[in-house]
């Protein structure tokens, strides 16, 4: 079936920047009215970057005020309206899943502020979703192209506590859990400069999946990489270097944040609680609706979409359904 309205079927034959500007303006109007994007708004993909094996970053142009309002840990529902392989044997049967923002940048390409036309033009704001091929829907997203539509609604959910001057942040990620940890490091550094210490541990299965390392190196006071197979950094899990790191820190002014598979986050939070350190985890659960209707994203007696994804570590450790792998 040919769908003339889909950039997915008319690649290269249209003014991408003009389309992006129009869609971005549409999103800005909705954001001003509602404070978030309620119904999915499609945006053309401006750029898609290979980060590591089966990991890409999809860059979308968004209103500057939306990017400014986004808080690390929050998520957007991301939907490829032309995802053709979705279930039920129907063509164009699509799916939508939650992703947190991995990076934000300003594109000033082609702007000449000495000209009257560009006076006061601060550039275009781009939001990056870094996605790892972990299943059908995420796999489809990693295979999208520049110009394809990706629809967003959000941002939804809770955020990490705001770091304060003189504090220490410990960021522990597993796999694609890197993205909210990077946004947190970025925000803390932008806001507090050298008045915050940031120590990060990033765990990956192997070196070919390792991503965001250069980004984090530029932001952190210390960065430790672990791989399950020893192909990069420390051979093992993030808990190994974490134990040593926590011993050298003053627990009073320290906060640990983590994102990754639950079997990794559980011992990480246990170590933080034992050391007397405030800790929070960004949770991922099967999350179909994002607006407190379906009731399928529960952890304990909380809805992940509304009372998460960021939850307190000591509370999570009391929940019997926390700590296993979830599909």
């Amino acid at each position: 079936m040919t769908l003339a309205t889909s950039p997915q079927t008319r690649k290269g034959d249209f003014d991408l920047q003009k389309l992006a500007n129009i869609c971005c303006e549409r999103m800005a109007t909705e954001f001003t009215k509602s404070g978030k994007i309620l119904a999915p708004i499609p945006l053309p993909i401006m750029e898609i970057i290979h980060e590591a094996e089966s990991v890409v970053t999809i860059w979308l142009q968004v209103p500057a005020e939306l990017a400014a309002a986004y808080k690390p840990g929050q998520f957007f529902m991301c939907w490829n309206p032309y995802d053709a392989e979705g279930g039920m044997g129907r063509t164009n049967f699509n799916s939508e899943k939650p992703y947190s923002v991995g990076d934000i940048k300003i594109d000033r390409t082609g702007i000449d502020e000495t000209t009257a036309a560009d006076e006061g033009n601060v550039g275009n704001t781009l939001m990056g979703f870094t996605i790892k091929d972990l299943g059908r829907q995420s796999g489809e997203l990693t295979r999208m192209s520049k110009g394809d539509w990706l629809a967003l609604r959000g941002p939804f959910g809770t955020t990490f506590p705001t770091p304060t001057s003189g504090s220490t942040l410990v960021l522990v990620s597993g796999g694609i859990g890197s993205t909210p940890m990077h946004m947190m490091a970025r925000e803390a550094r932008n806001k507090l400069g050298n008045r915050v210490k940031i120590h990060a541990i990033m765990g990956f299965r192997n070196s070919s999946e390792a991503h965001y390392v250069p980004r984090m190196e530029g932001l952190c006071d210390s960065l430790t990489i672990t791989t399950d197979d020893g192909t990069q950094g420390i051979h093992g899990y993030p808990t190994q270097p974490l134990e040593e790191l926590l011993q050298g820190l003053d627990s009073d002014n320290c906060t640990l944040l983590t994102c990754g598979p639950e079997p990794m986050m559980k011992p990480v939070l246990e170590m933080a609680v034992t050391a007397g350190i405030d800790c929070y985890a960004a949770m991922e659960r099967y999350l179909p609706c994002a607006i407190a209707v379906c009731g399928l994203c529960m952890v304990g007696n909380r809805l992940t979409c509304r009372q998460g994804p960021v939850m307190e570590g000591d509370w999570l450790l009391q929940q019997s359904d926390f700590g296993q792998h979830h599909g």
């Binding site: 769908l3 003339a4 309205t5 889909s6 869609c23 549409r26 009215k33 509602s34 309620l38 119904a39 999915p40 708004i41 499609p42 529902m77 939907w79 309206p81 032309y82 979705g86 279930g87 039920m88 164009n92 049967f93 699509n94 799916s95 939508e96 899943k97 539509w149 629809a151 609604r153 179909p288 609706c289 607006i291 407190a292 209707v293 379906c294 009731g295 399928l296 529960m298 304990g300 007696n301 909380r302 809805l303 509304r306």
Partner: protein, 316 residues
Amino acid sequence: MAELGVEVPGLALANPLLLASGVQGGTAAALHRVAASRCGGLVSKSIGPVAREIYPGPVCVEATDSVVLNAMGLPNPGVESFTEMMNENNFSKPMLVSIFGPDSQSVADIAKKMEAAGATALELNLSCPHSKPGSRALIIGQQPELIKEYISAVKQAVGIPVYAKLTPNTAQVSLEAGAALEAGADGVSLINTVSALEVDPYAGRPIIGNLLCGMSGPAIRPIAQRKVAEVALAMRRGEIPTAPILAMGGITTGLDVARFIMLGASAVQIGSALIYGDVDIFEEIENELTEFMDVQGYPNLESMRGIALDSMEGLN
């Protein structure tokens, strides 16, 4: 202070605010969470013969600030798993168990299992297609003969009260209400969602994964009020048997509840409002309703039930 308690067949409610079916109520954890709020009672997700997965998304979105669109696909754990859950759990609020099935025998079987597991009342979701060839273009709730067949089968199978959940997507809802009540239903619930469709003009396709969807939210409240009034007036005129009405459609405030009670409803159900206020919305609505009744001097729900119908009795 106004007394908000109300009794309807199978349910003694501390207030008239029930959770609507399809919202959050599919698992023990979710039902306990809602029960811990100030709701008067629960309505479970619609439970079918076997477990069903949710449709691929988007499954539910706020299309604008008063329009909610959804096509969930009746996701549910299936009757065996749900009755096991009921046996293992005691909920702190009365629960109306919503059920559905592809044919009347299947629904009657589910009803029996729910009664055995302790259900005190059932709500029969009639908004699914019938498996009979030639009937698939319409849902059961649009065919009065099928409504009768379903209700009769369930009433023969169980002794507990049965409510028929009616669709607004017909020409004259009092016909469907009459069919259900003549077949023995103990009450009616209305309205289910309004048939809807939304297209994104840039993507050039519907925004809901299932393509077609149902509409709820504050925008449908006037539609729901008219449907409830049509049924209540038909009861007053003696055209159909009189029975309690559980009303729903876009309720977000205590004043909305008063509107439906004044149109003849015994109790109400609240669903989409949880998008705006989660389960805390029940307390807000309860407080508003109490304050309104106190200011207006209504000592209880019965004193305002149906009063808005008095000026409409001549209508046909």
